[in-house]
Amino acid sequence: MGGITTRKDINEQLERIETADIVVGIPSFNNARTIGQVVRAVQAGLAKYFPNHKAVLVDSDGGSTDGTVEVVRNTVIEDFQSILVPHRVEPVLKMAVPYHGIPGKGSAFRTVFEIARALNAKACAVVDSDLRSITPEWVELLIKPVLYEGFDYTAPLYHRHKFDGTITNSIIYPLTRALYGRRVRQPIGGDFGFSGKLAEFYLSKDVWQTDVARYGIDIWMTTEAIANGFKVSQAFLGAKIHDPKDPGSDLSAMLYQVVGSAFNLMETYHAAWKTVHGSEPVPTFGFQYEVGLEEVNVDVGRMLRLFREGIKNLRELWVSVIGKGDFSELEAHAGRSDDEFCFSPALWTRIVYDYALAYHRKQLPPEHLLKSLTPLYLGRTASFVMEFRDRDQSKAEAEIENLCAEFEGNKEYLTTNWK
């Protein structure tokens, strides 16, 4: 299948633009409500921090029907004085491109990579279209490490509510850190900066018919960058606030795509992670400051109910994956009252590693295996929420550090059983 750049109308636009120093991509699907603000912030960021660079803003759209594309086309900054920019030397060019392939964020990013390659871009960034907290400084912080400091990849670093990003905090961050030895705090943050060279590298991979084309894109980009020795950094962007997600979005499908992508990458990069011990920080840009965060509603009762349903109904399956010993421990926890419920980091670490090993051994069809992790994940999340409900953010962060230490300390169990 030919790339998006072979399409006649897109090709004509690219020929007119010829080259660009910076490409900023925004994946969108029915985001008319928020995308105007994101486009304005990106335009302002490019005007303020990269006035002499030729920049292209690409809206990679999944067939929106709410006027998202029109909002992108019509959004302009009329008053540059208000953002303390007298004038911009190079205009910001805009392209609204319907992406192709499997519907999902990964396919949208692929289109951005293709346009970056066609324009021979030096630095690129991607930002979500539903962001409410984006500022022009995000563009500076994601692009500058790549353009001026020689980095190939800049991951985001946000302040988030202690109960937000639980898949990141309880699985993806500890696992990525223990496997590859780099402390990228938000490996699936969603807003990234990367070099044109890395965009070209991403395009050389044949993954666009897999879950990488969906939710798996973020962990894939981060892991590919780390495992292949690209220079990785992170940038502090402040708070991450975006439009509430669709409440109907299925948690188990999300887990399946994200964790499945991480486990798949473990197969690909076994040689890269098997010898890694411990972890080291990555260079961090941006001035870190405290931010006020929105309250989060957590229904712990529902989480515990689902966990107990799992204990009751998935016994055979769980025993085959995690073994009788750990299952008995879970059963004992499930039998306690809600107030006494506790799911320790050590037990959770063993479970995640056992799931990785079961995935590697192809013990069950991947979808069944990973979706059966959902009640366990909810049990661990409920335990974390109850323990840190009345404690401050720093204590919760310390617990995540503690979990990372468990993952690093128990890594030998994973490496010795990986056959």
Binding site: S252, V296, N313, T381
Partner: protein, 232 residues
């Protein structure tokens, strides 16, 4: 005396003529069976290699076939079982072909009946194997999905669906084997229809409260002004 001797020798002579007439057929049968056994062994060897190359045993583990075999006290590898099945199927075919070389009318009739029935046996066996894999897969998928949605009777639901599928596949296999086809179709229709009807009533009547709770819960959720936890 001469008459008496001819009375003894005549049947022997007749028998030896008949034997000489029959001997090539017997020899042909033995050769067919011998070549057939060697061919069956070669086929089993090649099949085992092929199954190993495509990781058939690992696939069987994933699909629950190995577990089903263990439950039936079969401890050999799934690939070995498939190899043995193919071997013995070929041996039976070879035996039939060998017996055909004898050119005896009753045996010929038996063979033609067997040959006509053989495709039905094979397709019934395939339906049973495919049915088992599909039943395990769908049953497990429903169980996990129901648990993740917090459905209280997840196991019951998964078992009900599994039972329906077992009934469906067994009826299909019996229909293939033409074992009392009229009774099988009638029994299947009554049983399948009965189960579906019973489930519809059970869910319809028993689910009123649950449906009410779900709707109330959804309305409560909409009324909440605080946002939900973000997992990613």
């Amino acid at each position: 005396m001469h008459y008496f001797i001819s009375l003894i020798l005549e049947p022997l002579k007749e028998m030896s003529v008949k034997f000489l007439h029959f001997a090539p057929n017997l020899l042909a049968m033995l050769i067919i069976i011998l070549i057939g056994i060697i061919a069956a062994k070669i086929v089993r060897f090649v099949l085992l290699r092929l199954l190993k190359a495509i990781n058939f045993d690992a696939w069987s583990d994933r699909m629950g076939l190995t577990a089903a075999m263990r439950k039936g006290e079969v401890w050999a590898k799934p690939s070995a079982v498939v190899g043995a099945f193919a071997f013995w199927l070929l041996i039976i075919i070879v035996l039939m072909a060998g017996l055909g070389a004898l050119q005896a009318q009753p045996i010929d009739n038996l063979i033609s009946q067997f040959v006509l029935y053989l495709p039905r046996v094979i397709s019934a066996a395939l339906i049973v194997v495919f049915g088992y894999i599909a039943t395990s897969f769908i049953g497990r998928a429903i169980l996990i999905s129901a648990v993740n949605r917090g459905f209280h009777f997840s196991k019951l639901l998964a078992e009900a669906v599994r039972l329906l599928l077992v009934v469906l596949f067994v009826a299909m296999a019996l229909e293939q084997l033409q074992v009392a086809p009229g009774i099988v179709v009638a029994a299947f229709s009554i049983l399948f229809g009965g189960i579906v009807f019973a489930l519809a009533i059970a869910f319809g009547v028993g689910g009123i409260e649950a449906a009410k709770k779900i709707i109330e819960h959804e309305n409560e959720k909409k009324a909440e002004d605080k946002r939900d936890i973000e997992h990613i």
